[in-house]
């Protein structure tokens, strides 16, 4: 039983595993299946200023070693989130920390959500989704250096709460964008969001996904996620949440050794709702097996070959 606790973003995390945005709704629908409050935390489905209807079906399908999705950021919108979702999170998650995933199509959209939420209780901070590839232009902020810098600075001015920017892997060099976020005042980074992809139904000769293209997630993207996490962690000095294809403690340890302080579990929860809980347990077991007392001893403990 090693020490998994970490002090990050001004709070104590009892464990390193969180549920990834869009794969756990607003928590409630997993509450009867797993002990949510044992996790490090959860990241909500994206919240936008206005409710969004989302994309037509099919919205999800399996791909080799993973899945593709194009939900289209369907969500209840800021007002309903505060009225209907936040109260449940506030009442039911006492030790697991809540981050609100924020999405928008203009700086004002993002700023509006942050401003509207900032006074509420029941969540710790924000994960800014600048990289959802599912909606036209959705990748803009995450792949445009100026737009990203301006957005992060603007949001930094709006809130004292932890501000975590979720990076897209879909750029030549993640380090550039990671540094911009740090310089503009982000408290942390998440890496990675889905990779853009497309599947074709060869019998109907049409895209499988109603939105034509979607975002690829799951084990298939694990090496891309580990690499982006390693780059982001070495390029900056702020905490990184590692995301992408994590199924178990061994996968999570790759991210942690690469420099992730926390990890998020997404697609794996669809295969087994207990995945996140098992990931956290598996990390604990790894530490015990290797006689390591504190998780923090291994964050970024990767050794590089002599060059």
């Amino acid at each position: 039983m090693a020490d998994l606790t970490q002090h990050l973003f001004g709070v104590e995390f009892q464990g390193p595993a969180l549920l990834a945005s869009g794969t756990c709704g607003y928590g409630q629908d997993y509450a009867d299946l797993i002990p949510l409050d044992r996790l490090g935390g959860i990241v909500t489905k994206a919240v936008s200023l206005e409710p969004r209807r989302g994309n037509p079906p099919h919205r999800v399908s399996e791909t080799p070693g993973g899945m593709i999705n194009a939900i289209g950021l369907e969500n209840v919108g800021l007002k309903a989130f505060i009225a209907e979702k936040l109260p449940w999170l506030r009442q039911n998650l006492r030790r697991a920390h809540v981050f609100v995933n924020v999405v928008g199509w203009t700086e004002d959209d993002y700023a509006g959500v942050v401003a509207g939420l900032d006074g509420e209780n029941g969540f710790v901070g924000y994960e800014i989704n600048v990289s959802c590839p599912n909606v036209k232009g959705g990748t803009m902020f995450g792949t445009d250096e100026q737009a990203l810098a301006s957005l992060v600075s603007r949001l930094r001015a709006e809130t004292e709460r932890p501000l975590i920017v979720k990076l897209t892997p879909n750029v030549p060099d993640v380090c550039v964008y990671a540094r911009i976020c740090e310089e503009c005042g982000a408290d942390g980074l998440s890496a990675i969001n889905t990779l853009p992809g497309m599947l074709i139904d060869i019998e109907r000769r049409r895209p499988v996904i109603g939105n034509v293209s979607g975002g690829v997630s799951g084990p298939a993207i694990l090496p891309m996620g580990v690499y982006a996490t390693w780059k982001a962690a070495t390029a900056t000095s702020i905490p990184v949440m590692g995301i992408g294809g994590i199924r178990d403690g061994a996968d999570a340890m790759q991210y942690i050794l690469a420099g992730a302080a926390l990890v998020q579990v997404g697609t794996a929860s669809f295969v087994d709702p207990s995945a996140s809980v098992n990931v956290q347990q598996g990390i604990d077991d790894y530490l015990d097996r290797h006689g390591v007392d504190r998780l923090t001893d291994l964050v970024g403990a990767l050794e590089l070959p002599a060059r």
């Binding site: 079906p57 087994d272 098992n278």
Partner: protein
């Protein structure tokens, strides 16, 4: 860790929705929703028709709480040496008195192909029972089944006949080679399905809709391919007959968290079919006109 039978009250939303899921008359209050995550072992896997397998799984918790129309997500979990596979949704096709559930599985693509190779002793991860069941009252029932859409009606007929309720089971397939052995259906349900095949190679020749009685005072329940559901619905609509349909849409989680499984509602919103379905009052859905 197995989360076993932790119980939760259905959310208000599910409750209202289930209330709306009536077939015209007032109902007994909706029971609590119970979902299990259960490791199940394959007890039997028999090829029962062309590209069709009857699976029996030892899954006591799911068996105990399932009701006809509900489904399970079937998969390998994460600790198998095999391939990563998203779980696949399947109707609960039957349950035994002693903790087994039956799945009528037709090979469609990669996942169902893989599941069709399961052998007794293999282990699966089962999530269920999921979704909203068919809603019955005192009226007689006509079940219209297309292909493996037969599955939920095997379960339903078994319970109905046990309860002495009058049920007609109208079952259509493309051809006789695809028909799930009527003898086995009889053994499982205690009743004879009325078989229709498009090529007439078994039972009566024609589309399953030809078998429907639109004049009686029964409730119509339909499960099968979307074109069939559309045909059934337009007939039911024309004759003002109450109809519940079980729909199929691609699913990610099966439990309401991913928003992957939406179908268009008559009120213009996207409805999660894994949570508010798969069984719907036909008139709550939007249909092509």
């Amino acid at each position: 860790m197995e989360s076993g039978g932790r119980r939760v009250i259905v959310t208000a939303l599910d409750h209202q929705r289930s209330q709306r899921l009536t077939t015209g008359r007032r109902e007994a209050p909706v029971p609590q929703r119970i979902r299990h995550r259960e490791r199940a072992s394959v007890v039997a896997s028999r090829r029962v028709a062309e590209a069709t397998v009857w699976l029996e799984l030892e899954s006591p918790a799911v068996a105990a709480d399932s009701r006809p129309g509900q489904f399970v997500m079937l998969g390998y979990g994460l600790d198998s040496p095999g391939q990563f596979m998203l779980p696949r949704p399947f109707s609960v096709g039957w349950r035994s008195g002693d903790g087994r559930i039956g799945i009528l599985l037709r090979i469609f693509g990669g996942g169902t192909h893989r599941l069709s190779t399961l052998r007794p002793g293999d282990s699966l991860l089962v999530l269920g029972p999921l979704g909203v069941p068919f809603r019955l009252d005192e009226r007689p029932v006509q079940c219209i089944a297309g292909g493996v859409g037969l599955a939920p009606f095997i379960f339903l007929s078994d319970q109905a006949t046990a309860a002495g309720r009058s049920v007609r089971l109208i079952y259509g397939e493309r051809s006789g080679s695809h028909v799930f052995d009527p003898e086995l259906v009889k053994r499982l349900t205690g009743m004879e399905p009325e078989v229709w095949t498009e090529d007439g190679s078994l039972g009566r020749q024609g589309l399953v809709t030809r078998g429907m009685d639109l004049e009686d005072d029964s409730i119509l329940l339909a499960c099968g391919p979307t074109p069939m559901l559309q045909a059934v619905r337009s007939l039911a609509h024309k004759h003002g007959k109450p109809l519940q349909v079980s729909v199929e849409e691609y699913m990610g989680c099966g439990v309401g968290t991913c928003q992957g499984c939406v179908v268009p509602g008559s009120d213009g919103r996207w409805i999660k079919s894994c949570l508010e379905g798969p069984v719907f009052d036909a008139e709550d859905l939007a249909w092509p006109t």
